[in-house]
């Protein structure tokens, strides 16, 4: 006969088992296969040949990898600064208005429901030289048309729709966090003579610091997976100057049929993602604040 404690443990285990099984089948198993694939020259379909560490040697010599890593971190910087930053400012502003909060919530959240592919296509049409919206404005203003996506500007032009799409997501998370702060904290602070700006600096921001860090972790994690929007918008060009790791992996796998090398790139993405998130978590140590 099992003790009550053992029965309870078994019940809990049975409840946890489906999710565990799911993770093993759809995450752990493909991950292991991916590691194995990285030692093969494979077209991903019907031909495969063991080549040892060749794919890893190639990874370190490949100039496009360097560009993709640089671009990925550059976009990460823009995302952390502007995506989370703008979302924070908007959340603080919206929290301070009495009417129209629902309106702003809906409007700012709206881009999230549009697929990255559609946003990529939309911005492609904004930037297009001949028929683009931006150049239509330039012509209306009597100015000369511009080539908006150049080798120098490509990564910034790609970062704009990425930031625009997800501002609303972090806005909602941060606004919800701000709403959790007890109002009486603000009321007593007002009695002490605090104003709107100092209220934000000394009360709001410290109390939602944990949520801001969570947003940053999500944002960093998201950047590592970006590929669809860049694929539609620039295909990583011109001259690979807007190439990001996720897209490069996709192109190596599905355009070049170099699945072994693509598997190696995906391992690099995982390693860089884990390293970055670990560093971020260490830099912004979470403090448990209770109120």
């Amino acid at each position: 006969m099992l003790s009550n404690k053992s029965k309870r443990t078994m019940t809990i285990f049975l409840f946890l088992a489906p999710a565990l099984l799911f993770l093993v089948i759809f995450l752990a198993y493909p991950f292991v296969i991916n590691i194995i694939d990285s030692f093969f020259k494979s077209d991903g379909f019907l031909q495969s040949e063991y080549i040892g560490l060749d794919n890893y040697r190639r990874l370190f010599k490949d100039p496009t990898i360097g560009t993709a890593v640089k671009n990925t971190y550059e976009i990460m910087f823009y995302v952390c600064l502007f995506e989370v930053g703008i979302a924070l400012i908007l959340a603080i502003l919206v929290d301070n208005i009495k009417k129209g909060q629902h309106f702003f919530r809906t409007v700012y959240f709206f881009p999230i429901v549009i697929s990255a592919t559609a946003i990529g296509m939309m911005f492609k049409l904004f930037y297009a030289y001949d028929i683009g919206l931006l150049n239509s404005f330039m012509t209306m203003l009597g100015l000369e048309k511009q080539v908006w996506v150049t080798a120098e500007s490509a990564v910034k032009m790609v970062a704009i729709p990425i930031v625009w799409q997800y501002v609303g997501f972090y806005f909602i998370i941060l606004l919800t966090a701000i709403k959790q702060i007890p109002r009486d904290l603000y009321e007593s602070a007002y009695l002490e003579g605090i104003n709107g700006f100092t209220k934000t600096i000394y009360i709001t921001l410290p109390l939602i610091k944990g949520v801001i860090i969570t947003c940053l972790v999500y944002a960093i994690n998201g950047v590592m997976k970006i590929f669809d929007l860049v694929l539609i918008l620039t295909e990583g060009g011109p001259l690979n100057q807007s190439m990001v790791l996720g897209l490069y992996m996709y192109k190596k796998a599905f355009a070049d049929n170099a699945f072994g090398y693509a598997a190696t790139i995906s391992l690099l993405i995982i390693v860089l993602g884990l390293a970055t998130i670990t560093i971020v978590s260490k830099v912004f140590k979470r403090e448990q604040i209770t109120y």
Binding site: K7, L21, F22, G44, D130, G237, L239, F254, D256
Partner: protein, 442 residues
């Protein structure tokens, strides 16, 4: 309470496990219908009456000019064979997605019963894996399959092992499409020679017309035409044959660079894709475009009236001025597993026979402008189609595109990591060709 929890947990686990295995097995069950299979083996007479579902995958989807014709053909076939239901998995061939879909399907055993796909390097892995059946074998039992397609065409698409795996519908050609009206407006001669081409570029540029709608980042057609015009038919075939990069290929890439520096392309040519380049020509903002015969289907009649198609201007005396890129590069493949499935065999044969009949080929040729693989007279064609067919008939050599002789990765080095960098002066043709050769050999 404890018992209820345990029962619930067990139910959750069972549901999940059943769900996973049912999910994995679901599609197979739908396709094989084992009961029906056994019955059909035993009773041949009821074969046609048994319902059967066939999957077909083609490039006749999206904006392809043949999409409507193909869909109508499927409807007509289903009306003639009410027991056959067809799942049309067609999609556009623009980009690499279609290639990937077909190769993934074959690699995972999820291939369609009939697949319209490329020949040459693209299909080699599929043939080597014994996933498609040759028409030589099919014809032993069903000699009527593909009977309308001419022997010459069939022989031209036989693979290295001498077998015929693909039944083509229409051959393609590529050429320089020119807006003759614009050329006439500025008193320009057609760009049949390099000198005429350069003169035209200078004049058109001065008049704010984009001379060449050329997408540098997707320069597939430009690469093969510039190489052909410089290296001629033999040099074009010699994909990186020698130890050192071919001087003709280097010169051909430098020709693209020269035109880029002369601003022969649109200002955003470096980021432009093929569709944007086509639109530039269709909107008559550009005067020339290197395209395939299928491009005619995208143009309105009003524009077709102003257009002509000619071989690429000769850049050296190695190029025969009539030579063009063209041939038969795609056709219907029959999956071996479907052919060997007694429940499907007859339906597959009926469908592929229907789709490769002279009538079906004629319908495709009427809309995509390609040369029909069967001896048919395509009536009512716009004169531009006729001009294209005449160009093919007059060509001393028909040359298959370069990508049919290179691995996808090697060819993409030319397209993605080659031409854009060469025109911007960041790489020279020699290093691009060396990298391409190295990747093609690995």
């Amino acid at each position: 309470m404890n018992k209820i929890s345990k029962v619930m947990a067990l139910l959750v686990v069972l549901t999940f496990v059943t769900g996973v295995f049912a999910g994995c097995a679901g599609e197979k069950e739908d396709v094989e219908t084992p009961a029906a299979t056994e019955k059909q083996i035993d009773d041949n007479t009821t074969k046609e009456a048994e319902p059967v579902t066939l999957r077909i995958s083609t490039m006749f989807g999206g904006t392809d000019p043949s999409t409507q014709v193909f869909e109508e053909q499927l409807v007509a076939f289903e009306e003639l064979h009410p027991h056959v239901t067809i799942k049309n998995e067609s999609m556009t061939s623009v980009g690499d997605e279609y290639r990937t879909k077909v190769k993934t399907d074959f690699a995972t055993g999820n291939e369609a019963d009939i697949t319209f796909f490329y020949n040459g390097a693209d299909v080699q892995g599929i043939i080597n894996s014994d996933k498609v059946i040759s028409y030589d074998e099919i014809n032993e039992k069903y000699p009527e399959v593909g009977k309308d397609i001419t022997d010459g065409v069939k022989d031209s698409v036989r693979e290295e092992d001498g077998k015929l795996y693909m039944m083509p519908l229409t051959g393609f050609y590529e050429g320089l499409f020119v807006n003759e009206a614009i050329f006439e407006q500025y008193g320009l001669e057609l760009p049949t020679t390099w000198e005429n081409l350069i003169t035209a570029i200078d004049v058109l540029k001065e008049n704010d017309i984009v001379p060449f709608a050329g997408p540098i980042a997707q320069s597939h057609y430009m690469i093969e035409h510039f190489v052909l015009s410089q290296a001629g038919a033999e040099g074009h075939k010699d994909v990186l044959a020698g130890d050192e990069p071919s001087a003709d290929w280097v010169a051909a890439f430098n020709n693209i660079k020269d035109l880029y520096e002369k601003e022969a392309f649109a200002k955003d040519a470096l980021t432009m894709d093929i569709e944007m380049a086509q639109n530039l020509f269709i909107q008559e903002k550009a005067a020339m475009i290197l395209e395939g015969s299928w491009f005619i289907g995208r143009c309105e009649d009003e524009l077709k009236d102003k257009m002509t198609v000619i071989p690429m201007a000769t850049a050296s005396d190695k190029m025969d001025p009539t030579s063009i890129i063209g041939g038969f590069s795609s056709g219907y493949y029959v999956s071996k597993s479907s052919y060997e499935d007694p429940a499907k065999q007859q339906a597959v044969i009926d469908l592929v026979s229907f789709l490769t009949s002279a009538e079906a080929i004629k319908d495709h040729a009427a809309v995509n402008g390609g040369s029909p693989a069967a001896k048919v007279v395509v009536e009512g064609l716009h004169p531009l189609f006729v001009e294209g067919h005449a160009m093919v008939a007059n060509a001393n050599t028909l040359n298959m595109p370069i990508d049919s002789r290179l691995t996808p990765e090697a060819f993409n080095i030319l397209v993605k990591d080659g031409i854009p960098f060469i025109v911007e002066g960041r790489k020279n043709p020699e290093e691009v060709l060396k990298a391409t050769k190295e990747k093609n050999e690995r």
